[in-house]
């Protein structure tokens, strides 16, 4: 289980997170929604230890991420897949080499690596693209390779950073199905998005991040029926003073 405990994070004068607490139960997809700049991606990076919190703790499987030694952190990252917003594929490597990289680090032999590459590409319906470079792929295909790279490692958790941003509706639906299929394979998912259609489609639980803290968390039905005006405004996509540039208004110093 992933547990966020009163996380705070500032970048210079900007307060991004000011006390985020959230439980990500095993075997479910938890979705964090919130406006652009609300700190959703920062939250994911805190979970894998790419950045350190100013306060609070992140616990993954009862381990405090930021107390881990370098080797322990590497081992923890072996249990967490990360799908980046723009895929973050290594552009000098082919699709197969991108997937292979993480498998090599874990010491699998060549046969297992080949199998895993084939399996993971089959899951994302990209068999046959092994020798292509990322530049030869569409944005949606790159994101699917990003998922293949993550699932090839058979992680316990996958963190998805804006998985449907910039995709056409059909490709976005394909991505949503992949995220659900991955959960059905037993992987716990944490998705951050501001795409409400996607959030309600893939999420078992939805949490809204607003002004540096979790405003409301609940099942999809509970969030859709929320009477919180901020939550309602966001999920209905109504512009208004409450949601306009919340980060700028929270700036200090």
């Amino acid at each position: 289980m992933i547990l966020l405990d009163n996380l705070t994070k500032t970048f210079g004068p900007r307060t991004i997170l000011s006390g985020v607490s959230l439980e990500v139960p095993d075997g479910q997809n938890t979705v964090i929604i919130g406006a652009s700049g609300a700190g959703k991606s920062v939250t994911l990076k805190l979970i894998v230890g790419l950045i350190e919190p100013d306060g609070g703790r992140v616990l993954v499987d009862d381990e405090v991420v930021h107390d881990l030694a370098r080797d322990e952190l590497a081992a923890l990252r072996g249990r967490i897949g990360y799908v980046f917003q723009f895929a973050a594929l290594f552009d000098s490597l082919t699709v197969a080499e991108n997937i292979r990289l993480g498998l090599v680090k874990r010491g699998y032999d060549a046969g297992v690596i080949r199998e895993r590459i084939e399996e993971s590409l089959a899951v994302v319906d990209l068999s046959g693209t092994e020798d292509k470079l990322p530049a030869e792929l569409s944005g949606g295909m790159r994101k699917r390779v990003g998922i293949a790279r993550a699932i090839a490692l058979k992680p316990r958790y996958i963190l998805y950073d804006e998985p449907t941003t910039g995709l056409d509706p059909i490709t976005a639906t394909v991505m949503d199905r992949l995220i659900i299929r991955t959960r059905d394979l037993g992987v716990t998912g944490l998705v951050v998005t501001h795409d409400m259609r996607s959030a309600f489609s893939v999420g078992d639980r939805v949490a809204m991040l607003y002004q540096g803290a979790i405003r409301q968390v609940g099942t999809v039905d509970e969030i859709q029926a929320s009477d919180d005006p901020v939550v309602r405004q966001f999920i209905e996509g109504r512009p208004g003073p409450e949601l306009v540039e919340p980060v700028a208004r929270r700036s200090v110093g």
Binding site: L50, A74, R77, Y82, A88, L89, F90, K105, R106
Partner: protein
Amino acid sequence: MNHSVASRAPTREGFVAHVGRRSLEAGRALADIGTWLPLLMGQMVRLGVDSVPIALFIAVFTGIVLSLLSSYIFTGTVPLYFVGALVGKTIMMELGPVLTGMALAGRVGASIAAELGTMKVTEQVDALETLAYDRYAYLVVPRVLAATLMFPVVTAFAVAVGVASGWITAINLLDLSSTEFLKGLKQFYQFKDLWFGLVKSASFGGAVALMGCLRGLSAQGGAEGVGQATTRAVVLGCEAILVLDAFWALVLL
């Protein structure tokens, strides 16, 4: 945009501390041999072998000019066979290593900073970390080692070609025979002349690659940030060469 990128750029003092901290991390990454060793040969080809043409181009013209210049200075005052001595000593001990280093600071330093900077701003470096790789072991160590090992090799070729071009110039354009040129070259030659230049160039290679890596990994703010990181890497690489040049002269001469 301009302001935001500039305001995040570290100060020179901050950069010195940054270099120290990152150098320590790179040192620790040296122990991760399984990660950097397979990448070393590719970097040696890329940073070393591919740099030979530009180094030789510079060496040819340096040899020509040095031969003509020394003839101009010595005519009527010093026996002309000293042209061989001056060309040999100067190219082996100073111009070969420094001019090759400067040229490679542009080529290698800029190439490394641009590549790593692009990886940084497109989250490829973060992706590497989430795959449980140490960014210093994967990106920095093979480049710094490759440059440290290959700069002396490229410099050795440049020295040979520079002396040869000075020799050919002397026997074709000056009133000097091959025997006289070689007499001057041999009369003042010491083995130290050669290894002094090669030791210097090894340190230049390490410094240029380290600056390129550190500036690249510090890049922020998209294309503009990568451009700034690249420019700084080249400037710092050239500055490091001049400082190291003086250092070795003080220590070894």
